[in-house]
Amino acid sequence: MVERIDSRPRSSTTTTAFVATLKRELILAYKRKHDVVNPFMFFLIVATLFPIGISPEPERLSLIAAGALWIAALLASLLAMDNLYRADYEDGSLEQMLLSPQPLYFMVLAKNIGHWLVSGLPVVLVSPLIAYMLSLPEGSYMTLFLTLLMGTPVLSLLGSIGVALTVGLGSRGLILAVITLPMSVPVLIAGTMAVTETQNGASLAGYLAIMGALLLGTLTLAPLASAAALRISVS
């Protein structure tokens, strides 16, 4: 009555498991659209409040434009992080991921990349438009866009560590922000300094090198930390 469909032991490769996890993350984002749309709308709202709260004059806005955009992106990334592992933790998918013979590093990396594609990338893509609204000085658009493009993945990867540490806790409140924000400060400093200093004639290459180093560093190390944190949270 019950036959094994196929008894040939064929193992999957890390690549197929990586691709499957990335695909699953994107399908989940498509099915839970509000999880994706909420942080994006939050980013737009926060950025819109600056001209209203401070001043609509282009001279004053242009001074804070880069910082305001970076802070809005940082907060939006924090808001988006919360649901990275929670649903998987609650329905047991996370345990299945931990028990896979595949290296957890790549599974976590796939989830992080998928998560950034749906939460970080839209913010990066819309940033020049918001920058125009905030009267960012001409000539800084490319700097801002490039630093955000390299900086938001860093924020996602760092945030993933905090989420992985707190996913098992019942009520988390602000603890995620307390863990994640201090780690994110160097990215914020590098990102905003790149914009302001290149306006004063500094070379963009140096700042891009710093952002690139941050990105490569977190890309290699942060998923290891997330994986270790997930093991602790599940046990």
């Binding site: 019950v2 469909i5 040939r8 193992s11 399908i27 329905d91 047991g92 028990l99 599940v234 046990s235």
Partner: protein, 223 residues
Amino acid sequence: MSHATQASESTDSVTPPPNTELLLAARNLFCERDDRVLFKNLDFAVRPGQVLQVRGSNGSGKTTLLRIVCGLNDSYEGELSWCGEPVADVADDFYANLLFLGHRVGVSKALTPLENLRWTCTLNSAVDDAELLAALATVGLRGFEESQCFTLSAGQQQRVALARLLLSPARLWVLDEPFTTLDVRGVTQLEAMLHNHAAQGGSVLVTTHHPLNVPDLEVLDLG
């Protein structure tokens, strides 16, 4: 206080598997939770072709034991070995041959049964869609392949997870209360799956309060 009870019956219905060495062995396990000793000096072994039922009252540590075996809980003392080697030394082989089904069955409610099964299976083995659909049909989910899982009943979600048993190449199944939400036919089917797996030389470690109708069942009492 707890020990393995070898309640083996005659073995005429199942051909003994060719490889009779121990698949999984636990020696001198000790686990304490909130200053309460769940078990100590616990020894048990799982042979190829054996179905071992872990029995015990609520809170006796059945789930904890299963999670310890799977490496999801490391707050224990004692030794666990896989094919004679410590599990930590042969982790790759152990996890490639382990299938765990917990209380939380690993079925995402936002995804369809097909998407769920595809992902959980791909973590372990290469499968194609025809096999996935056949497995879902076998567990009685024909016609539900593309419905999101939150529209399914708890028993149907359990069946999505059980479909993995049909596709997995794992030799050791660790199942935590797999019968709870199943209907009578589902129970019979799962018992047949356990028996079939054991007959093919696989091993099962299962907790349940349900009287298991599986030949050559052995029981580990946790008190």
